[in-house]
């Protein structure tokens, strides 16, 4: 019995962290936030094999498991790295490789990072603003809001009935416009379809659900990494910062704020590990754990991001340290693919209570 990461997984984590430390410092994130491109970052991650992680070996992938992807997601969150990881390296490869339609060639391109797939699931989760997606005779009409990422080559689109389709970003019937959010480390878009070609991926609502679960666990892992970074930064700052002739880390109020963050966050690590592991290896617990992990990390993430900002005092409120990028990323993870109340109501339904 071993609850935790294998040596290979620790190595993967170290590799990704080293790459991100060297290549995605805060200045690089700022560049992207100010309108720059994430292509060199994605190229670097592709060289490490990240987009191939979940793709089956028969399609040129590495054929690893959700837990491996969660490890990467945590690192990306820790470094608030831009990039299409969630859609193109996780959700799309999973959905497409489990599709009965056969996407072998595309999967190979996704695995090398040369083709990026975005996700447009908003209407299948909690429909808002009368936006909707209609597919008939291989053509799609309607609107998807807050699809990610903004530079995808194609989008995995879901309609209200959890049918999934693939739509090319180059299609004449698709238009794409930027939807600015508080989180500048990733970009979302509005997709408007007007008789765009929609290639069927799946009519199996179970595959949609599993793809969604996977995405939610990745968001939880991203929050875990980002929140851990904020806690680490807060502790470090408190040790350096002196007021009243002593480091503020020696004030009991500051210590207890940090202790409360650690006490809330530390169990989340085991939770994210188990949730990711369950997706592949404990199917009977996978869906419920995915919901709870998404919702719980949203709550803990909010608490940590707010408290870590407070520990930083005025400096946390400024742009000088860039701490707000973590704050906002955690805030965005909270809302993406289902806000906590919504996801908890799904958890209840899964247990036969609705």
């Amino acid at each position: 019995m071993r609850f935790g990461l294998s040596e290979e997984q620790t190595l993967l984590k170290d590799n990704v962290n080293r790459f991100l430390e060297d290549n995605v410092p805060l200045d690089k994130v700022r560049e992207y936030a100010d309108g720059g491109s994430d292509s060199t970052i994605w190229q670097g991650l592709s060289d490490l094999g990240i987009p191939a992680l979940l793709t089956p070996e028969e399609f040129g992938g590495v054929g690893l498991k959700p837990l491996d992807a969660a490890i990467v997601a945590e690192s990306l969150g820790q470094h608030i790295a831009p990039g299409p990881f969630l859609g193109s390296a996780v959700m799309a490869p999973f959905a497409l490789s489990n599709s009965p339609e056969g996407f072998g060639e595309l999967l190979s391109k996704i695995a090398t990072g040369e083709h990026r797939v975005g996700i447009a699931f908003g209407e299948a989760i909690a429909r808002r603003n009368q936006a909707s997606v209609h597919v008939k005779d291989g053509k799609v009409d309607g609107t998807s809001l807050f699809a990610f990422d903004a530079e995808a080559d194609s989008y995995l689109v879901a309609d209200q009935n959890k049918n999934m389709f693939l739509v090319s970003a180059d299609d004449d019937g698709i238009s794409r416009s930027n939807l600015t959010t508080v989180d500048r480390t990733r970009r979302t878009v509005e997709l408007t379809y007007s008789s765009a070609s929609a290639k069927p991926v799946s009519t199996d609502s179970n595959l949609f659900d599993r793809t969604l679960d996977l995405g939610r666990v990745m968001l939880a892992a991203d929050t875990l990494g980002a929140a851990q970074s904020m806690l680490d930064q807060a502790v470090e700052y408190a040790k350096q910062r002196e007021q009243f002739n002593r480091p503020i880390a020696s004030f009991q109020a500051v210590k207890h704020m940090c202790a409360e963050m650690a006490a809330s966050l530390e169990p989340c690590r085991a939770m994210v590990w188990f949730a990711a592991h369950a997706l592949s290896d404990v199917p009977e617990e996978a869906r419920l754990t995915a919901c709870h992990t998404k919702a719980h990390l949203a709550e803990v993430g909010q608490f940590v991001s707010r408290t870590a900002t407070e520990v930083h005092g005025g400096m946390g409120f400024t742009d000088l340290l860039g701490l707000h990028y973590w704050f906002k990323r955690i805030g965005a993870n909270r809302q993406w693919l289902g806000a906590p109340e919504f996801v908890r109501s799904e958890a209840a339904i899964l247990q036969g209570v609705d």
Binding site: F146, L179, R246, Q302, R306, G331
Partner: protein, 398 residues
């Protein structure tokens, strides 16, 4: 319990309403506070006693006796009609009261009239990168050289530095004295050579504040308020007032009404958000807290009108509770909107012009600024509940 203000105040309220009806076209719209229209409007308001009401006539004010109820009625009616209530800023709200209490006759004559008429805009130089909660540890140095102070150092959170004509500034003039006794309160022009201003962008994405750097800035010796080394007392004479105004309960009331409207118009899965029992319960919880703070505020007002009523604890907790309440209130709005709640800046799906996210962050800033919540809790426990101060740690030898 008597919640009425009495008939003479009803008349006064009518006067204010009539004034606003007749003159609303003269009021400037939007934020420009330096234009001629803004100055003319300010002049008209002062003449009618609707701003700078208690500042003596000899210094350019209206010269009325203090009357909290009249001031509140003015505030209420201007707010209700959404008409510009006159010039604000730290010069008028902080420096002028300081000068009235501690300034020389010459300083009052020189500074108050142009300040309240918008001809002299001020910024505040208190906080430093190394002196936040522990403001008294500030290190910006002022050394007397002949008839001039020579100022070197750095200030932060100087909100309107880029617009200001003058700064009122705390400096360390007596480096050998105990830290609270070595500070002086200087006034100087922002055009003085040696001043550099850098905008300070905050988490809302806007440069609401600045960093201000001083290199051998020379200030005439007499531009000091109070004596050398008295700066801490001068500043503290009015610092408490600032905290009261950071989270006024009536704006929380306005915001929660806006939130109710938002929840009635937004839908998810075809259902109005206000019909979601979980969101509704969170809304009601907040509404209860907003009401408690509203009545608390009425109690504070009453204690200022009725000698002998004590509401010192009510007043002491206002900033702590009010900022937290607003942060949570704005956060609920974001939560209920799902991904739409993340919208910012030029996003076409923005609700309330982006105010929900902006205020959510801004109020986190206010939880920290103007005395962090930790400092507030120290104050409440020590001054409000009589609990002992923490044992003091002496400055380490360097």
């Amino acid at each position: 319990m008597d919640l009425s203000f009495g008939p003479e105040y009803d008349d006064f309220r009518s006067d204010v309403v009539n004034f606003l009806d007749k003159n609303s076209d003269k009021a400037p719209k939007g934020g420009d506070m330096r234009g001629e229209q803004a100055k003319d409007w300010q002049k008209l308001l002062i003449e009618n006693g609707y701003t700078c009401r208690t500042i003596p006539k000899e210094y350019g004010g209206f010269g009325a006796e203090p009357d909290i109820i009249r001031s509140r009625i003015i505030g209420e009616e201007f707010s209700k009609s959404r008409i510009n209530p006159g010039l604000g800023g730290q010069g008028i709200s902080m420096l002028v009261p300081t000068l009235l209490e501690m300034g020389t006759e010459e300083q009052k004559q020189k500074f108050i009239r142009p300040t309240i008429h918008g001809d002299m805009i001020w910024c505040q130089g208190y906080s430093e990168p190394g002196a936040g909660s522990d403001l008294a540890s500030l290190t910006t140095a002022a050394v007397l050289d002949g008839d001039e102070w020579v100022v070197n150092g750095q200030k932060i959170w100087t909100s309107t530095a880029h617009l200001a004509d003058w700064i009122f500034c705390l400096v360390r003039s007596e480096p050998e004295a105990p830290k609270h006794k070595g500070i002086s309160f200087l006034l100087f022009e922002m055009t003085t050579p040696g001043i550099e201003i850098r905008p300070l962008v905050d988490m809302t994405g806007v440069a609401n504040f600045n960093e201000t750097f001083f290199t051998d800035v020379r200030v005439p010796k007499n531009q000091i308020v109070g004596e050398r080394g008295q700066g801490w007392q001068v500043a503290n004479a009015i610092l408490g007032h600032e905290r009261d105004t950071l989270a006024p309960p009536n704006t929380a009331q306005t915001r929660i009404n806006a939130l109710v409207e938002l929840m009635k118009t937004e839908t998810a899965g075809g259902e109005r958000l206000i019909d979601n029992p979980i969101y509704k319960d969170r809304l009601m919880k907040l509404q209860g807290r907003v009401l408690a703070m509203k009545y608390n505020d009425m109690r504070v007002l009453s204690s200022r009108l009725n000698p002998g009523q004590d509401a010192s604890l009510s007043r002491m907790i206002t900033k702590l509770q009010g900022t937290e309440l607003r942060h949570e209130l704005e956060g609920l709005a974001i939560d209920i909107m799902g991904e739409v709640g993340l919208s910012y800046d030029d996003n076409p799906h923005l609700r309330g012009a982006g105010s929900w996210q902006r205020e959510y962050m801004y109020y986190l800033g206010l939880i920290i600024g103007g005395g962090t919540s930790q400092i507030q809790k120290n104050i409440i426990s020590e001054r409000g509940l009589g609990m002992p101060r923490e044992p003091k740690i002496e400055k380490k030898a360097v």
